[in-house]
């Protein structure tokens, strides 16, 4: 069975909609797992279906899904295309979900390659596939190597060497059972070592967010009703930090209102439609537009007026942002407190935009929330792209699987299957996949023979 592949098929950040294409035998099943709407395995071919992408219980994006069954598709396989609305981080999130659920990231040109191999496109078109493959062969290694920095590479190599030592030891136990100088790997001495690997992988994934933050910046949405003081906050943040003009090559120029840096990290303020308009113009902008911005933000700042009671719109926004990293900026604290709400799920900053107070606290909160002080921007020890994160997650899964089965008393030589898988996956991240490495390890470290 061929793998089911997926990739974002539109340029990232350009245009409001991005499309993720999924192709292969399991395309429908995989998308169905994260889609709420009609059962996609039962819809007619060549239909467009409305619904939502969910990560477990969490709503990620409102989408249109095109279902095209083999053979009348680009690749002659089942193809599903997901039209996302939410900007870069949402699109990436959907891609990650697909990978977690069994799809593999497509190689450059792989859709076209399949189209050709399955007889969908003709010879002249195929020539371009050849060229594409060729260009890939020259750059592939470079990409694999450059994608991983020295210190991240080191971390992964360390993990791999723990795993390969374990594996070689297990293999020696199996192939030379009477060789008593090798430690017998048992459930009890395997557990702490695997747990160590597990923890390191978890740390790597926990810092993966930092990798993204470093390379792409932090997306912040400032939301709230008209006239509540959003623009003042934005303007003062931008001015104080010597606002960077929105011309950031290759990023989300169209949707970024302005950027500032905080502790060396780029903070991108997402356009929440109209927050820069002057306050004396009556705004007709409703909550809807703000919600769209929230979806693509790493942090949501909701601005509320201390002097007014909560409106329905406010309540809706409060409910919505609970699930996100959030800060509530309570403006006009110099006036009488009429605002009342349950503050449990929120981080609160009091302030007054007229006298420009509270902004320093706001910045502090942002720094705290993302540990920006601790992020070392020079030293890229972070997983920084979808491929690396996906492979690391899969390696983590394999180690978790081994540990779970270890508790079920599954024999060590079977757990070795999971350990080997984790070792292979980590190898893929740093472009090392030398299969005989294990045998070399075996013969170098153990003295075996008749």
């Amino acid at each position: 069975m061929e793998d089911t592949i997926c990739a974002i098929s539109t340029s990232l950040g350009v245009g409001a909609i991005s499309i993720i294409r999924v192709s292969g035998q399991e395309a429908l099943d995989i998308v169905n797992k994260i889609f709420k709407g009609k059962d996609l395995t039962k819809v007619k071919s060549h239909t467009i279906n409305y619904g939502y992408i969910y990560d477990g219980e969490k709503n990620i994006d409102e989408v249109l899904v095109s279902v095209m069954l083999a053979p009348k598709t680009y690749t002659k396989e089942d193809v599903v295309e997901i039209n996302c609305h939410g900007g870069i981080s949402t699109t990436n999130k959907v891609l990650e979900l697909l990978l977690e659920n069994g799809a593999r990231l497509a190689e450059p040109g792989e859709f076209t390659k399949r189209a050709f191999l399955n007889g969908r496109i003709d010879l002249t078109q195929a020539e371009s596939v050849d060229a594409l493959l060729k260009s890939k062969s020259d750059s592939a290694r470079e990409v694999a190597l450059n994608g991983v920095s020295g210190s991240l590479g080191k971390k992964i190599k360390n993990l791999r060497s723990i795993l390969v030592e374990l594996l070689a030891n297990i293999e020696v136990n199996i192939d030379f059972p009477e060789y008593e100088d090798a430690l017998e790997i048992t459930h009890s001495n395997l557990k702490p070592r695997l747990t160590e690997v597990l923890e390191t992988l978890k740390d790597l994934l926990a810092t993966a967010r930092n990798g993204k933050i470093i390379s792409e910046g932090l997306n912040v949405a400032i939301v709230g009703r008209p006239n509540v003081g959003k623009s003042s906050i934005l303007n003062s943040l931008l001015e104080e930090e010597k606002a960077i003009v929105t011309d950031i090559a290759g990023t989300t120029r169209d949707i970024i209102e302005g950027s500032a840096t905080l502790n060396g990290i780029l903070i991108n303020f997402i356009d929440t439609a109209g927050i820069r308009e002057t306050e004396d113009v009556v705004e007709k902008i409703g909550v809807d537009k703000s919600i769209a911005a929230i979806d693509s933000a790493d942090l949501v700042i909701l601005v509320l007026n201390n002097n007014e009671e909560l409106t329905d719109e406010d309540k809706e926004l409060l409910e919505k942002i609970k699930k996100y990293e959030n800060i509530i900026f309570i403006n006009k604290t110099d006036l009488e407190r009429k605002l009342l709400f349950n503050k449990d799920d929120f981080t609160i900053v009091d302030g007054n935009t007229k006298e420009i107070s509270g902004l320093d606290n706001l910045k502090k909160e942002i720094i705290n929330k993302f540990n920006l002080e601790k992020i070392e921007t020079k030293d890229m020890t972070y997983l920084s792209n979808v491929r690396q994160i996906d492979l690391t997650k899969k390696a983590l899964k394999a180690v978790e699987h081994a540990l779970a089965n270890l508790d079920e008393l599954i024999p060590v030589d079977m757990l070795a299957i999971d350990i080997k898988q984790a070792w292979d996956l980590l190898g893929e991240i740093i472009g090392e996949n030398y299969q005989d490495a294990l045998l070399d390890e075996l013969f170098t470290n153990f003295c075996l023979g008749k």
Binding site: M1, E2, D3, K113, F116, L117, G119, L123, A126, V129, D130, L133, K134, K136, S137, A140, E171, N173, I174, D175, F176, P177, E178, Y179, E180, D181, N405, E408, L409, I410, P411, V412, D413, M414, I417, D436, L438, L439, L442, F443, C447, L448, G449, K450
Partner: protein, 621 residues
Amino acid sequence: MKYDVIVVGGGHAGCEAAHISAFMGKKTALVTANIQNIADMPCNPSIGGTAKGIIVREIDALGGLMGRVADRSHFQIKMLNNAKGPAVRSLRAQADKITYPKEMLKELEKTKNLTLVESMTEGIIVDNNKIMGITLENGDKLFCDALILTTGTYLKGNILIGAKNTPGGPHGEKRSNHLSDSLKAAGFTIQRLKTGTPPRIKASSIDFSKMKEELGDKELYTFSVDGIAQYKVDDQQKCYLLYTNAETHKIINENLDKSSMYGGYVTGIGPRYCPSIEDKIVRFSDKERHQLFLEPESLYYDEWYLQGFSTSMPEDVQERMVHSLSGLENAVITKWAYAIEYDAIDPLQLKPSLETKVVENLFTAGQINGTSGYEEAAAQGLIAGINAVNKLNKKEPIILKRDEAYTGVLIDDLVTKGTGEPYRMLTSRAEFRLILRHDNADLRLREIAFKNGSVTKQQYDKLIEKKNQIIELKELLAENKLKITKEVKEIFESAKKEVPKTTISYLNLLKRPEINLNFIKQFLELNYDIDILEQVEIEVKYEGYIKKAYKEAEKTRKLEEKIIPNDIDYSKVNNLASEARQKLEKIRPISIGQAARISGVNPVDISILAVYLKKEYGKNE
């Protein structure tokens, strides 16, 4: 004389090849320099071992002799890795060096269509790149349609003891001086390999009281699924464990330059997994002692094999080394250890059927292909034999996949990767070892064997019966449920097992780590043979991992099914990396799957190749 098939060499590969060829109806000759040395065991006195024991089971499943013969000739047997998972268990028997060859000779003598010919072979006769026959040392010619060479270490064999270099094979046999030249002339690349064997000690001169006893298992086992164990568990012979010591190491270190290896007298490449004792001491200098085993060679003569003490030191040093060992202070050495160098061909010149690419209808098997070990040799001999017959019958060859048999892994590694050292099978070489278990060799291979005519209808019927019983037992376990009554609860509690909360099917109960079928027998009648019970237990308990393995295997199968046509011209495939092009041209893989396993051929090259195949050959699909 004219035969359908001639087999040259009477070792483990040759015996299997000759037997199966004759069994499958071809008029066959086995040509060997000394009939008395048929199925000789010139090195360790054992059959099987980790991975190797599984190969013996595979040989048996495919219709070969090694398992049956070993069952009749051993005096100790053990299931290795019994405490580990089912995938890595493997039988090893201490086989009697007198009985084994005798029993093998009996098998060959009663095989119809098979003639034994005693003579040294010195050349092959080739016409127009096709095999015609062989030339014997007296100048006589024997003709054949297919030839299988299983020459072991006899091609220009050189025995090395210290600085002394004696042309010849093991046991002081003559070597073949001209056959490898004849192969070279036909277009084969010849490489020089090396192996070695430890000294043999006179039993009566050993003080066993200073060593630790190593006993056989107390359970009855057979290699062959067709056989019943004929021995008594309490009648098994003992082996012994002993160690080297500081004195031994000192003697070796002081005399290193006198050994053939370190003195620079050896040109062949030896295996990493089978280093000489001097190798071990040099490479692992921090180790204070190394394990050694003493194993009896036969009940009919009093010579013991000192496993772990392979060396190429001169006799006087060997004697001091042996005498330094505790319990061997007064040991009489009956045979000196030696290293042996011999000619082998480059296995990259073989097709996966073991037919050579150089000469049509010429097959090779065993050490000539760069392997080591009796079992590895026998498996190749069997496959070469079946495929020689299939070739003459214009049938497709048996090519076992990597997820079907260790034998498949062995041959695929040889013909895809080649080998720079004598190749020994290890479980770690098999990526699907969970599927390639010793307990399911017949389930994996008997049907294939039957389709190829290498086993009988009765053997096949027995397999079908077994398969049906496995299905039946699984259904029985799934359909019947255990109610948790007071009595049941008590049984669980007294056995210190967790009591199920509600009624549970026996199948789900069996999935629990602490439950086996023996325990379930208290609640449900199970009238099945032990091998059926074992099979079901393994399949149920490890279902998750087994399914995962099959899924992975299925993925690679897809690639195996993408056949590369014989006539492909790699110079016409644009954009291949030059290393990939050279390798592909040399190895000429039969499928995309095999191509992908060649080192130096990367995934991009495979994509390019797949696209090229589609372009050039796709229209015919």
